[in-house]
């Protein structure tokens, strides 16, 4: 089939799917079936090529940061913004952005890809740049084990044609540099005093710390507070305010800065870069703040023990009402044992007001073994949300939730407050 025809057909499916309120992957699937090289042919026209971002935690917010930082440098950027980070999601996002002749008006594509899907993607379309954030045990029911996941990430790095950006503080990720001969390698890192704040998977499970490497890093996070951070770039300390919350988002800002500096090179306009960073907000469900009845309500996506642990570390429970919602659908991970690898004792003093989701009793039981009091448990997410809001009228609220629980909660919340709709 000719390219314009595929494009028109795909766009039609996309519009119909949108009317139906359907998911973002369907039109991509249709186009993929008809034209296997649709993504490759469309993306290969971009002058600055393709950037792939992968890793266990923080892909979505880091991708959003990289896009906004590149735009601050005057580039037109194509990205898979919808959070549907599989190949079909990329095809679907492309359909929204190309013109009727199939031209994509962009300089560069920045794609967030899930580890397993990224491997298939880079085999077809080698990226010019890649950023590998971290590897933590996550959804072992899908990937089997963490060393296997590391090899998927190594494959992405090896397939990269120009520069690979790696996390110096994650020993498995830093080690990938040894497999790279043709590529330039840049690292982002932490000052040593911060290393205990950002545990790698080994630190989290072995209780040992100090994996600090002696490799040079392009951008180093040296200090941070609730709303500001100091980075060391070219031996210069640069302080900036931030709208990002969550320690992991702030460390990933160093990753985004390193990647953008590699892409733009000497022409980087640093003051514009830092200004754009100071205005970046986290992606939906990653410490995102909504307003309900005049009080903030934060959604924190949790999908693996390290992410949950970092979330609990990032957000002080004092003065907040806390809710936890755990589902066990495929996208959430179906094995609940990961909840036992999270230390919930920081919630002991304030307790948890509401627990919900299909595995609500699993998390309640988990909290019981950490002596965390739970006020109310309800398997039904909508009812639980209603209770949570009406029982805590005068308090800011925070909900830790798995992926599909977050989607349900956001739909309910969109009826009572302003919520960015996930396409």
């Amino acid at each position: 089939m000719s390219k314009p025809l595929v494009t028109i057909l795909g766009k039609m499916v996309r519009n119909v799917a949108k009317l139906r309120g359907g998911g973002s992957a369907l039109p991509g699937l249709v186009v993929e079936r008809i034209d296997h090289d649709f993504i490759k042919n469309t993306l290969s026209t971009l002058p600055l090529g393709i950037v792939v971002i992968s890793g266990t935690n923080g892909k979505t917010t880091t991708t959003k940061m990289v896009v906004e930082l590149l735009e601050s440098q005057g580039l037109r950027v194509f990205t898979n913004r919808t959070g549907s980070n599989f190949t079909r999601g990329v095809a679907a996002a492309l359909l929204g952005d190309i013109d009727i002749k199939g031209h994509l008006h962009a300089d560069i594509a920045v794609l967030e890809l899930d580890e397993a899907h990224a491997v298939h993607f880079v085999d077809k379309i080698p990226p010019r740049f890649s950023l590998i954030l971290n590897v933590m045990r996550d959804q072992l029911d899908r990937f089997g084990e963490i060393d296997y996941t590391t090899n998927l990430l190594r494959h992405i790095a090896i397939s990269t044609t120009n520069t690979v950006v790696l996390n110096r503080e994650d020993p498995r990720i830093a080690d990938i540099s040894k497999s790279l001969e043709k590529q330039k390698v840049k690292f982002f890192g932490l000052e040593k005093k911060l290393s205990s704040v950002f545990p790698s998977d080994d630190n989290l499970h072995n209780h040992s710390s100090d994996q600090h490497a002696t490799i040079d890093a392009d951008v180093i996070l040296s200090e941070f507070t609730d709303n500001s951070a100091t980075f060391i770039i070219d031996n210069q300390k640069i302080n900036t305010n931030l709208k990002l919350s969550g320690v992991y988002n702030i460390f990933n800002a160093a990753a985004a800065l390193t990647l953008v500096r590699a892409i733009i090179g000497e022409k980087t306009n640093q003051s514009k870069l830092i200004k754009a960073l100071s205005q970046t907000k986290p992606a939906f469900g990653r410490g995102e703040k909504l307003i309900v009845d005049g009080h903030p309500l934060e959604l924190v996506l949790v999908k693996n023990p390290s992410g949950f642990q970092l979330g609990l570390k990032s957000f002080d429970p004092i003065k907040y009402a806390t809710m936890i919602a755990i589902n066990d659908n495929y996208a959430d991970g179906r094995d609940m044992s990961w909840l036992w690898d999270v230390d919930f004792t920081s919630l002991m003093a304030n307790g948890v007001e509401q627990v919900s989701g299909s595995r609500a009793y699993d998390i309640s039981l988990r909290l019981k073994y950490d002596n965390v009091p739970v006020t109310s448990t309800d398997l039904d997410l909508k009812k639980a949300l209603k209770h949570f809001i009406s029982n805590n009228p005068d308090k800011p609220k925070r909900i830790y939730c798995t992926y599909t629980a977050m989607l349900t909660l956001r739909r309910s919340l969109s009826k009572i407050t302003d919520v960015e709709v996930i396409k």
């Binding site: 499970h205 609940m336 595995r359 009793y361 309640s364 039981l365 073994y369 950490d370």
Partner: protein, 240 residues
């Protein structure tokens, strides 16, 4: 709390602790406290001095790299572990250490990893991974609920009994309906969950045996497991 201490040994807590194995240790620790004992947890890792006096031993699963790191050390402490098992010390081994407590693990490539032969079981690596929710039934413990995720398939010899008969899922292997193995007070199983919090009868069995060995007394257990029953009810209705 009484001054009666029960010591739990967490075997290879650094490298054989892949998914929720801490939950089993935490469950034993809390339930011992709730029954009036003072739990003490010792972590044992390769190269450490093996403690002379332990009451319960718990071990978990690891990845291939974790198994490589511990397998020679495990051979060193194997005779000690066998002696403790023969002296009725209760033990719980999940997944990877369950396999290595057996005679051998033959990988899909034909490599043989020697176990310590404490359990009369043999394990063969297969390409297919057995993954999903699992329910088994045991006369002693009733329904046992959890989640399995393993590519090794285990076959039982005459020297062990099965822990449970599979009602949903695969269990030891894709051939028969056995899940887990028992020898004296040693229990091996493939179940994550973590296993003990949602199957407290097994936790209490390990505790009762440990207390009997150490203090020759019967545990008085008034733990309220209402929440556990609700979580189990949900688990019993889950799809594979």
């Amino acid at each position: 709390m009484s001054d009666k201490t029960i010591t739990i040994l967490h075997l290879y807590s650094n490298d054989m602790n892949i998914y929720g194995d801490r939950g089993n240790v935490l469950c034993l620790k809390c339930r011992l406290e709730w029954c009036g004992y003072t739990p003490e947890v010792i972590e044992y890792n390769q190269g450490d001095q093996f403690p002379s006096d332990v009451d319960i031993i718990v071990g978990g699963g690891g990845q291939d790299s974790g198994q490589d790191k511990i397998k020679s050390d495990l051979q060193k402490i194997g005779p000690k572990l066998r002696e403790l098992a023969d002296n009725n010390v209760p033990m719980l081994m999940i997944c990877g250490l369950y396999q290595l407590f057996g005679k051998f693990f033959k990988t899909a490539d034909g490599e043989i990893i020697k176990g310590i032969g404490l359990l009369d079981i043999e394990t063969y690596g297969k390409s297919e991974r057995l993954i999903g929710n699992i329910i088994t039934h045991s006369e002693q413990f009733g329904d046992i609920v959890g989640y399995e995720n393993h590519s090794g398939q285990t076959f039982l010899g005459n020297g062990v009994q099965t822990l449970g008969r599979v009602r949903l899922g695969a269990g030891n292997n894709a051939v028969d309906v056995s899940e887990g193995a028992r020898y004296k007070n040693v229990i091996g199983s493939y179940l994550h969950g973590s296993l003990l919090p949602k199957n407290p009868d097994i936790a209490d069995f390990l505790i009762e045996q440990a207390v009997k060995n150490r203090y020759n007394e019967v545990v008085s257990n008034n733990i309220d497991d209402g929440l556990t029953r609700l979580a189990r009810k949900v688990a019993l209705k889950l799809p594979r």
